[in-house]
């Protein structure tokens, strides 16, 4: 990989992590969705750099597909899930405050570095060295998923995890095959559609999309 290629790769990977941390930091739902769209662009850029480096037309097509799906379609679906809600919705009672979540993000990034050491050791190529960042995005996504109490921000947490996994897939040497890649993208799109419909039903039956209202079922 050329020096320029490595630089571009690092910028794209850095943008991936930065946007994940920003999602953790911000509280306004519309802002979170906007940042998520930016992360989709960063992910597409990352794959585009890999495509350019390997001169692979297939990867370039995948990058374009990622840009459309994660930069445009998914954020659009999330915004649609928000319509009908009061404007300027914020996370009302997040389980973790800003300082604690940022500290947790730092800890998770260190954890990701430690955990993915064997992956990097197996093939110390520039792309592989960025895998810990992808793993960190997965972990931060998981943190968002479990600490946020608003349906749409929980959904964004799930999508952050998925962005991280996709990035890890492209950064590791193998990838998972084009057919499976398409299947994964389709599944993801459908999950978001299902959750969007459920958000609508939640608003119908509960009058809100605050997940603290979900306490009908317990033992």
């Amino acid at each position: 990989m050329t020096v320029h290629g490595i630089e571009m790769l690092n910028i794209a990977a850095g943008a991936l992590l930065l946007t994940a941390v920003l999602v953790l930091w911000r509280r306004e739902i519309t802002m979170i969705v906007r940042i998520f769209a930016l992360q989709g662009v960063a992910l597409a850029a990352l794959v585009a750099v890999l495509a350019w480096d390997e001169g692979s037309a297939e990867l370039a097509v995948v990058a374009a597909g990622l840009l459309v799906l994660r930069g445009v379609v998914l954020p659009w679906l999330l915004r649609r899930a928000l319509t009908g809600a009061a404007p300027g919705q914020r996370e009302s009672r997040p389980a973790l405050n800003v300082a604690a979540s940022l500290l947790a993000a730092a800890a998770l990034t260190l954890l990701a570095l430690a955990v993915s050491a064997p992956l990097v050791a197996l093939s110390p190529a520039p792309a592989t060295r960025a895998i810990p960042i992808a793993i960190a995005v997965v972990l931060i996504g998981f943190l968002v998923l479990v600490t946020r109490r608003h349906a749409v921000s929980q959904l964004v947490g799930f999508l952050l995890m998925d962005n991280g996994i996709t990035a890890a897939g492209f950064l590791s040497s193998a990838g998972i095959g084009l057919l499976v890649e398409v299947g994964v993208a389709l599944d993801l799109l459908l999950v978001v559609l299902v959750l969007q419909v459920l958000t609508g039903r939640m608003r119908e039956t509960f009058g809100d999309t605050d997940l603290d209202e979900l306490r009908e079922l317990h033992d």
Binding site: I165, S173, A174, V194, R201, D219
Partner: protein
Amino acid sequence: MDILLAAAPLVIPALGAAVYAIAGWRPATAHVATASALLSLLVAVLLAARVVADGPIAVAALLRVDAVGAFMLIVITAVAVLVAVATPAHLAAELDAGRIGTRTVTWHAVLVQAFLAAMALAVTAADLGLLWVAVEATTIITAFLVGQRRTRAAVEAAWKYVVICSAGIALALLGIVVLGHASAHSRTGAGLDWAALALAAPQLDPAVTRIAVVLLIVGFGTKAGLAPLHAWLPDAHSQAPAPVSALMSGVLLAVAFSAVLRVKVISDGALGPGFARGLLIAAAIASLLVAASLLIAQRDYKRMLAYSSIEHMGLLALGAAAGGPLATAAVLLHVLGHGLAKCVLFLGAGRLLQTTGTSRIDGVRGLAARQPVLAGAVGAGVLALLGLPPFSLFASELGIVSAGFGTGIGWAAAAALVLVVVIGAALVTHTGRMLLGAAPEGPGAAPAPLVLPRSTAAALIVGLAGCAVLGITAGPLSVLLEHAAATLGGIR
């Protein structure tokens, strides 16, 4: 010919879904599902015979039906037949009560067929990636079935179900990516084809494979209802309509668990049997503890059945941890026995809910006097779950526990045995209170007629009879079980 046969378990329910999508649900199409399930069962039996005689059947590097796949297809289609027979009466009662509309009924029929197709794909996929896509597809398809009634509780259950299962299964996808990384660097060209990976396992980098195995077992374990990520299961299984609960509890959990078994083969080859064993024992004991602690004071009979599913998944994990051909055969037999018994119980519970209007255990009294056939089926089903003879769960639980004592994890088997006894006592107490005693008097006690529809009665009795016959002799199935155990032992 073989290719057609191998693709049929996918194609038949897909055609069924198309029929319902075009023609809708009406009296003339009500038994398309039954025909589809019976035909699929026939295909599964033919496939099993072919696989036992000639070895695995592969289709274009995408599908491979081996002994495990053929056995799982038999489990799926056998339970699907019972469910299909009982579904029309269930849906008719829901329609009459005005709880759902005709549009919802058509959706129900389409989605159940798609659900069966996705499960068939999951057990016959040759590639771990395709397996993942199929398992995630089952979550998407069943989400609307869980939330079908659109009440607050149903919407909540559907949300938790999709979020927890999708997040859990995302971990499995990360595991697949990591395993793919290890596979690419092993220079064996195995890719993500799990049979090739099982052969190439000794060449996989152990440190990377270890990460992958943890992620895969936790991920697919989530979908199989193993603790600690089991929280979705009691909600989803209690809120879904009865025929869907029967499929989810009876087969979907087992389909996800068969993915865990596939991963274990790779793990054993790369890391030795100790690594996956440790993880599975932890999951088994945690699941049994969760089930026992929440069953003792359980107040809802559908949730009671759901926690009992967590218990049985824990037992499967214990059997898989023990490993070896006998334990593996017992695990697979347990999958079939539990599938049939749990299907009968959920179908019975659905009828109970329709006739009593409550899912609370203390809302049901003196069932034996008022609905003797239903009470008999529920009582016999619970006895089957407890692992009493003649039901097949007796033989399989015995096989699992004795294999545990035989392979040096006797402490885990002993702990499991204690928890199983506690769970059994709780189940007997709760069920006894529902079946026995005097019938409640007064208005509102019987909102629906108390004659069990003939089709439902047939499904309940055939399911219990099947479970009992299996307990006496597995018959020709025993050869298939031997082959499947050999496949999962990495021998064939």
